[in-house]
């Protein structure tokens, strides 16, 4: 038996200690917002936060999260930074297929908390672990800057973005 704190709620689970958080969230707790992409920490689709740190849940055993605060995409909007990121994502229509976006948002939110005014290279460092096959990278970059209130430099190709 292991107790996990998921989005502020204690969950008592009868699962193996080495079971990755990804499958615990998706298959045991039915929280499907966190996505399976590669199973090896290579693509970032499964990113969650543990005590605010962006973490690849597909390679993180539940034992590593015991006694810590797990935050997933389902609850990130309740944090001020998560809300700002989600609003920016909506305003710039970042997602295409959308499958990687939970992970992108979890990484971007953690970045915004640690670096409220991220530079382009901060964005590269924080987001390079999150693959998007639809190529939403230009909008991810713009949306992070928008959420941070950073003036965008260079080519901004998103026009007619609407406030939501």
């Amino acid at each position: 038996m292991i107790t996990l704190n998921v989005n502020g709620k204690p969950r008592n689970l009868n699962i193996p200690e080495d079971m990755p958080l990804l499958w615990t969230l998706r298959d045991v707790l039915g929280m499907t917002g966190t996505k399976f992409g590669c199973g090896m920490g290579l693509c970032g689709a499964c990113t969650i936060q543990i005590d605010g740190q962006p973490t690849r849940s597909c390679i993180t055993p539940v034992s590593a999260a015991a006694g810590k605060q797990i935050t997933t995409i389902e609850a990130i909007g309740a944090t001020p930074a998560g809300k700002r990121i989600q609003r920016a994502w909506l305003a710039l229509d970042v997602p295409q297929c959308g499958y990687c976006q939970s992970g992108q948002i979890m990484s971007a939110t953690a970045l915004l908390v640690s670096k409220p005014k991220p530079s382009d290279s901060d964005i590269d460092d924080a987001m390079a672990g999150n693959i998007c096959r639809c190529g939403t990278y230009p909008r991810i970059r713009s949306a992070i800057k928008r959420a941070a209130g950073v003036t965008t430099t260079g080519v901004l190709d998103v026009v007619n973005a609407k406030e939501v």
């Binding site: 193996p16 693509c43 389902e74 229509d93 295409q96 297929c97 990687c100 976006q101 991810i140």
Partner: protein, 727 residues
């Protein structure tokens, strides 16, 4: 172009009601979750979960409260279809598109057929081209009926009434009736056979950037992909398919697999094994413990080199003639100069972010399937064959696709999942690990393009010969499309190349790789062909020591739209600007899917030969624009997708198996590697063109032409890989 048949709508309504009954039954027996009540923005519902009195066609219905539901004939896989198609209906129906509920359509190759293809298929950059008229017709038909119902209620001339924002208005008296109050009367009216559509000048919605309708669910984790299906009682299965193509399963250690806590069953197929468990983790561990043994089969020694050798040998013989203007071979033989080149493009995996998966619930008389598919109707028909069930017994619950790119134009995964589910009690979700997904894809084929040109004394090309050798996807997928032995997709970009050469010869040789399944991949023929054509034209310009833009423009007098996008791309990018050593720009043109695209890519090639695309400019003339912001997004998407493939993408075969396994060795572009992208749209009143694929097609030659400009290294074989390193 055929249009969606209004005459069949009566039949549609009745089969729709039957389907509703069936799904309602399934809800009790099979545990379907039906969503009722008002939709939340961003939610997409399973098909036909609610009924409404007014459903004049298969694409929309309105209930007595005035709630409007649109049923999407084609699926959303990121390309913006679930926004642009609703915009077409809403434009003519006069409703607020942001308040409409969106549903996935049920499988139906008749009523939801893509008119350009003939079946219910999302792909080929066809959605807007195919449905621009039919969906506006659907909206306009309903609006006319609602206006007629209101006019009859008020006993006034319908021409004195108009519709706006879900309300019919009689302007002379100021009377108004919401659509909900009119649905019962409207439903009793005959469906008009012909309705007048708006002139583009009167569009309020179409042509103006509109926020996507599916974004909300994609930023809070609530959007449902196939892999997120959770029918009650569902088990989880992980599968392993024979690592060699054509191999067979010999044995598994069932006892060891079942010793893993949570593992309940080992399912054997002829060439695969699946471990069924209480969660994916147990299933994965069970699979490792099962240590399946394989008979490698007939392709055990196959390698990429063998396949390339076969293609090269095949390309020596004449092929089926796709285009023959003048006498290219005589013109080339008699020309003062001749240029030859061979271009090779590798096998590619799709690597959609959502790995292949399919959830199936089999009973003696039903099969429910939860999956994201580009071909629900075909999938239903195939599952009928596999299971022996009747059409109404096979229910496909389509989902948002976590990437398609052509991978989900195939039913191989669904068939496997059904075969596994036939041996499992209750619903089971079958997941391909990323390694299985990469190693058992249906690959973009390896292609071998042989080109020759004859040049006059000034280096101007006068004759052009292009022989394409490779796997024919059309021959397997749409056999009737093969005419006189020519695969029209494979030769598209070459046959329809825009340049004014007097003598042109294009021929095609189908040469299938043994054992390796091949399929569509974002642009397919046009993507491959554009790389060859635009690389070769660039070589001809270099040979003539001319500017690659000017060289192209001089050959485009007969093609003003192509010429215009090139010239705008040059202007927007500041073409001709001096760049520091180690930087360069390449230009390319893509004509395909009814659209005209030009791109300029700027790269840095450093002293070690590392290539970094820093900027991309893209100019699009896709005719009438429905959602301009979607067009921009698709160009950004296509550029990143194409750069991934051109720089790194390569599936190689050794000992009959794919060597790549995951994103570590099947590398794709990351945010720190993506260029700045600037997209410019050309206003046009031409028929709408497709935009899902050409952005990918155009960027590959633009990149390699830029590498040539930066380093003098001509890339004739993709991916670029280490080729720009100093020789």
């Amino acid at each position: 172009m055929k249009t969606a048949s209004i005459e069949t709508h009566g039949i549609v309504s009745s089969s729709r009601r039957n389907f509703l009954k069936l799904t309602a039954t399934a809800a009790i027996g099979g545990g379907l979750t039906l969503g009722f009540g008002l939709p939340t923005r961003g939610e997409v519902r399973d098909s036909l979960t609610t009924d409404a009195p007014f459903a004049p066609n298969a694409f929309l219905r309105i209930d007595r409260a005035g709630n409007v539901t649109f049923v999407m004939p084609l699926i959303e896989m990121g390309q913006g279809t679930y926004t642009s198609l609703p915009m077409l209906i809403a434009e003519e129906l006069e409703v607020d598109v942001d308040k409409v509920a969106i549903e996935h359509s049920p499988p139906d190759d008749k009523v939801y057929a893509n008119p350009l293809i003939g079946v219910q298929l999302t792909g080929g950059s066809t959605a807007i081209r195919a449905l621009y008229v039919p969906l506006r017709n659907a909206g306009a038909t309903a609006r006319v009926m609602l206006v007629t119902a209101a006019a009859q209620r008020w006993n006034v001339d319908p021409s004195a009434c108009h519709a706006e924002n879900g309300v019919v208005v009689h302007a002379p008296t100021g009377r108004k009736l919401g659509y909900g109050k009119l649905v019962d009367a409207a439903a009793k009216l005959p469906v008009p056979e012909k309705v007048l559509l708006k002139e583009p000048a009167d569009f309020k919605l179409v042509g103006t950037p509109h926020p996507r309708l599916d974004t909300a669910g994609k930023v809070d984790g609530s959007a449902k992909f196939g892999i997120d299906s959770r029918p009650p009682g569902m088990k989880f299965a992980v599968l392993a398919i024979s690592p060699t193509f054509g191999g067979k399963l010999v044995s598994v250690d069932e006892a060891k697999a079942k010793a893993v806590p949570g593992v309940s069953q080992v399912v054997r197929l002829d060439d695969a094994v699946a471990i069924v468990a209480v969660h994916t983790w147990a299933a994965k561990q069970g699979l490792a413990a099962a240590a399946p043994q394989w008979d490698a089969g007939p392709n055990a020694k196959l390698s990429t080199a063998d396949i390339v050798a076969r293609l090269a040998a095949a390309s020596e013989r004449p092929g089926a003639v796709a285009r023959h203007d003048g006498d290219a071979s005589a013109a080339i033989a008699g020309a003062p100069q001749k240029v030859d080149a061979v271009y090779e493009q590798p096998f590619l995996a799709h690597a959609t972010m959502e790995p292949m998966n399919c959830t199936v619930s089999m009973t003696a008389d039903s099969c429910d399937i939860w999956v994201g598919t580009q071909i629900p109707g075909v999938t239903q028909a195939v599952v009928m064959k596999v299971t022996g069930l009747q059409r109404e017994q096979v229910r496909i619950h389509n989902h948002l696709l976590g990437g398609g790119f052509g991978r989900r134009l195939e039913f191989d995964g669904t068939v496997r999942a059904v075969q596994i589910a036939q041996q499992v009690q209750g619903p089971v979700q079958v997941i391909w690990t990323r390694e299985e997904d990469i190693q058992h894809d249906m690959y973009r084929p390896y292609y071998y393009d042989r080109l020759s040109a004859g040049l006059d004394a000034q280096g101007k090309a006068v004759a052009w010969s292009h022989r394409i050798t490779g796997s024919s996807i059309v021959a397997r997928y749409f056999p009737p499309w093969i005419k006189d032995g020519v695969d029209p997709d494979a030769v598209d970009a070459s046959v329809n190349q825009p340049y004014g050469f007097s003598d042109i010869h294009v021929d095609w040789i189908a040469e299938e790789p043994p054992g390796i399944p091949t399929s569509w991949w974002r642009g397919v023929g046009v993507t491959r062909g554009t790389f060859a054509v635009e690389s070769f034209v660039d070589e001809l310009a270099a040979n003539a020591k001319q500017d690659p833009l000017a060289y192209r423009v001089a050959l485009l007098d007969q093609n003003p739209r192509a010429k215009a996008v090139l010239q705008i791309a040059a202007e927007k990018s500041g073409w001709g600007k001096r760049l520091p050593t180690g930087q360069g720009r390449g230009i390319a043109l893509c004509i395909g899917f009814g659209s005209f695209i030009a791109q300029v890519v700027q790269v840095t090639v450093d002293k070690e030969g590392a290539v970094n695309p820093t900027h991309a400019w893209c100019v699009v003339d896709c005719g009438i624009q429905v959602n301009p912001d979607t067009i921009r997004a698709q160009m950004q998407s296509g550029i990143v997708f194409g750069l991934s493939a051109a720089l790194y993408g390569e599936i190689t075969i050794k000992d009959g198996r794919v060597e790549q396994t995951n994103f570590g060795d099947y590398r794709v572009l990351r945010i720190n590697e993506a260029p700045q992208i600037e997209v410019h749209l050309v206003k046009s009143s031409e028929a709408p063109g497709g935009i899902g694929e050409p952005g990918t097609s155009c960027v590959m030659p633009a990149l390699t032409n830029a590498i040539y400009a930066a380093s003098g290294k001509r890339i004739r074989k993709l991916p670029v890989g280490e080729q720009a390193r100093a020789a």
